[in-house]
Amino acid sequence: MESGQYLNLVPWVVFMPVTGLVINLLFGKRFGETFSGVVGSLASGLSFIVSVLVAIGLAAHPEAAIVTLGEWITIGALQVHWAFRVDTLSVVMMLVVSGVGTLIHIYSIGYMHSDVRHNGDPERFTRFFVYLNLFIASMMTLVSADNFVMMFVGWEGVGLCSYLLIGFWFEKGKNGTGNAEAAKKAFITNRIGDFGLLIAMFMIFKYFGSFQFDTVFGQAAQVAQAHPGAMLAITLFMLLGVTGKSAQIPLFVWLPDAMAGPTPVSALIHAATMVTAGVYLVARSSAFYSLVPTAQTVVMWIGGLTAFFAATIAIGQYDIKKVLAYSTISQLGFMVAAVGMGATVAGMFHLVTHAFFKGLLFLAAGSVIQGVERGLHHAHGAGDLDPQDMRNMGGLRKVMPVTFWVYLIGGLALSGIVPLAGFFSKDEILAAAYHGQPALFILLVISAFMTAFYMGRQLVMVFFGKPRSAAAEGASESPKVMTIPLIILAGLSIIGGALNLPGVHTLEHWLSHTLGEGEPAKFIWLVAGLSLVLALAGLGLGWLVYSGKLNKAEDPDPMKSKLGPVFTGMEHKWWVDEFYQALILNPYKAFSEFMANPVDLGVIDRIGGGLAAGARSASEGLSKIQNGFVRSYALWMLIGLVAIMTYLILK
């Protein structure tokens, strides 16, 4: 087969995981854990191989290809096809989703093996892989769609999988409903964002008459000229969708709660892939945003503020996964800021490297959590100690050497230490900000410093010092099926920067076929040096503040005495949840209460009930006439007859 024909394989990136999930649904339970795990991983792995083939095909013919499978909706002017779009942008996303996804599938075989036993329901193992395959299929639909409607199908599909997987242990959590509530929160918060995306799509159809990407983006310039207000509305409503899916201010609150899901889910969905869908959407629609400077400014500042705000919260968290969750929000803020500035390639570059090192960090955190759980089991009767609380850890470096090293690599990559992946991608964003947006540049640099600081804090709290609980003392290394994906991801986190090295710009050229030729980001020694120095300073400060200061689990955080009330704010996530509760949820509940009792029961039900009672009494009255006496019927007939005759005669 000639390499150009590989492009026609693209539907298989979706069909492979679908096949996997069907097989697992039908036979998974019968053939056991290994079978389910292997089928799930194989489905995702084959999807990755197809993505690679498509990428090879695309390298020979870099212009976009569209593979249409059939018509989906045809109503008047509305025509939507079931079509796949292969261009350099979508292929980058496909490779990341299926590549990182496959590693996480493999890791999950080991992780879920002990997780289902820890939670006491081994039957659920297969279900996990069904959901994971469903997620890969949905995410592939999202990134490979050729029109907004197909993309929306994937967009909702990943939202559904996110909901299912956050609530995987739906009967567990706080008060037995904690996980279910977290899943619900994620779903509902995303609905708000999806509402924005839907409105944007409706407006696109109104003004462009199509959903197909080429048609729509081709007309963007004319429409922007004719209806500037409409374009602004489209981009801003689309941004609402982005803030929901990519956890930006003001809709970021669901992502930390989403950590209720099993850790591979946090790695796959809530760090590496799904949450980057918003960034992908803005990158895909960059033809729109480049025409609306106001929207660009809004996107940029939302990203920048989120990056800063989430980084401050990450400093005050004790749960190992919550730190990473806020870190993810913060890094997504970097990406959104980048695409907002028009530095789309920088944003996509950071998206890819972030998928590597944040996926790695989450998986390694999962390994840490299970290590501590094993320690807990070993030291039986250590009370109900939280295996995710970093205050209960410490000194894990010695008992979990592989996990430690990969975590260190992930942490350094996230902090932006040269030559790891995060350094190059973050530097490109900072350089773009340095060019045109000095205020944003300062905000992002401070966020980058805090990133390094909280990673330093986390590394020290988890891996250095003395064990602060019996569980941490008895912790042990995870099995190979978990550590090997970790090592591969660590390797990717090290070399990931090579994708778009300064001066070479591989990714830049690759994406320019889709995004158009842009000015390649310049490498600025000052910015690179500054960000490296700040990263080292952040890590160093984290080491200085925390090393040796925590000896018992009950010891207060050393930052508490230094920052005082500011740290209390960080610890409590700046009371954002409480604020939303008071500002939106409580009035909404009061309003619902009002609508339910006085309005519904008092007015609407009374109208309905009154009508029913009236009809009933009227028919009761009328039924009196039917008394069963033939003579009275005859009398009525006579009266009626006389009346009719009288009328006819007198007329």
Partner: protein
Amino acid sequence: MYPLIFPLALAGILFSIGVVGFLIRKNAIIVFMSLELMFNAANLVFITFANYFQNVNGQVIVIFIMTTAAAEVAVGLALIVSIFRSRHSISVDDLNKLKG
């Protein structure tokens, strides 16, 4: 020739007797007889006008009505016998089960 009003008045009287009898009597047989009175009042009107207009149609209809009435009486009497067997009464006021 007698004036037209005589047979018509007779028919009216017969019909009124039939109506009143149908309404006030309880005995099903009497009710039947009242019914027949009303029929025959109608027949009388037909015949009168057939004679008056020298048209045979009215006479034909009277034959039809008499035939139908005979059949109806047969059915009706059978029903009354059957009701009497089950309820031991032919008072129409006892037949009041069908009501709202």
